[in-house]
């Protein structure tokens, strides 16, 4: 795929890519922008090449995930070596600012989501936010479909328990104990 054609496709997927980058960076907007820019840079430099073996969105999300993990490792190394300790503060500020702009329910939802294990959080995001199938989510996360399904089921259960703790009653009968007939 040529660069102009790829650019058009990337532009079409930009909103979804940014949402996925946010999910990979714990909703840190500055980190997500940096990751997305690095991904575009790798594509332009030819370091990330789309082979056409899967959907472009799946490939792009896998690249974003890898870059996010790599950037997180670099950031941890910088923190350990005390070379650049001033970069974290403005990013945290921007994150907190963004969180303040969200609704109260969304804040609680994001907090509940943040307490989930990374794999479960990523699976739920890919399925519910990006509307991907479990096999596509497994391809993005480079795991088997069985593992993805397990993360998906456990993630749903953990999220439900977390939302119960947060006291979010979203719609009818969220809590099973209050709606035991739905379980039966």
């Amino acid at each position: 795929m040529q660069i102009p054609e790829l650019k058009a496709e990337l532009e079409r997927l930009h909103q979804a890519s940014y949402g996925w980058a946010l999910a990979c960076c714990q909703h840190n907007r500055a980190d997500a922008e940096e990751v997305l820019q690095t991904v575009y840079l790798k594509i332009l430099q030819g370091k990330a090449v789309y082979g056409g073996r899967c959907k472009l969105q799946t490939w792009l999300f896998a690249v974003i995930r890898k870059v996010a993990i790599s950037e997180r490792r670099k950031h941890l190394l910088r923190m350990l070596t005390f070379t650049t300790g001033t970069h974290s503060e403005p990013k945290l500020d921007s994150t907190h600012q963004a969180e303040l702009e969200r609704s109260e329910m969304q804040q609680r939802f994001q907090q509940a989501l943040a307490h989930l294990p990374a794999r479960q959080r990523e699976t739920l995001h890919l399925v519910f936010y990006q509307d991907l199938s479990l096999s596509e989510a497994a391809e993005v996360m480079n795991i088997s479909v069985g593992s993805a399904r397990r993360h998906y089921e456990r993630g749903k259960k953990s999220l439900r328990e977390a939302l119960d703790r947060e006291g979010i009653d979203y719609g009818f009968g969220w809590r099973r104990k209050e709606n035991s007939g739905a379980v039966l």
Binding site: Q15, Y18, G19, L44, Q110, F128
Partner: protein
């Protein structure tokens, strides 16, 4: 993917989050242009950690090479050490007197250095001090050698002929006066 009631509620929460994220997402052109600018910018040839590692390795190599060369220059082979120590151990007053006769000494004290493997470095760069010390050792003679020479020693230059006269035979006798006196007595 068919979703149940509970999953629809989760999806509703995610959809609300997606709506918010779309509002705060940066523009694609902005990120793409900055990435393209970075691509066209000249990249650094060598990274900083690699430079530090290379400099450290070079420093270690240079230090070890210097120490090795210094060690090689200070330590010499065993036969050179023997050559250096021999003249210093024996230095009586008579040595200087004997050392002034080089022609005689070279024949009396033959020195055969221990054969060693040829050293290319030493051949190309001869050690002048070692050569001088070797020459001094060639000239060295035992200080007690003078005691082995008697003043009464007779140097026979030729054999006397028995058919000659007594007067002619007397010239072969030593000319020392004391010996003559002894013989007369």
């Amino acid at each position: 993917m068919a979703l149940a009631g509970e999953e629809k509620r989760i999806q509703a929460l995610f959809s609300e989050s997606a709506l918010y994220d779309r509002n705060v997402a940066p523009r694609f052109e902005e990120l793409w242009t900055s990435a393209a600018t970075k691509t066209s910018a000249p990249t650094r040839g060598i990274s900083r950690p690699l430079l530090v590692i290379t400099a450290t390795a070079l420093l270690i190599v240079a230090t070890s090479w210097g120490a090795w060369s210094w060690y090689r220059s200070t330590t010499r082979p065993a036969h050179e050490q023997v050559v250096n120590s021999a003249p210093q151990t024996v230095s009586p007053p008579a040595f200087q007197q004997v050392a002034q006769q080089p022609n005689q000494l070279t024949a009396d004290v033959p020195f055969k250095p221990r054969p060693s493997r040829p050293n290319k470095r030493r051949i190309h760069q001869p050690n002048l001090s070692a050569i001088a010390e070797t020459a001094l050792l060639y000239r060295w003679q035992s200080p007690t050698r003078t005691f082995m020479q008697s003043p009464a020693a007779v140097n026979f230059s030729s054999l006397p002929q028995l058919n000659k006269s007594l007067e002619e035979l007397k010239q072969f006798l030593p000319r020392n006066t004391e010996l003559t006196k002894e013989s007369n007595q």
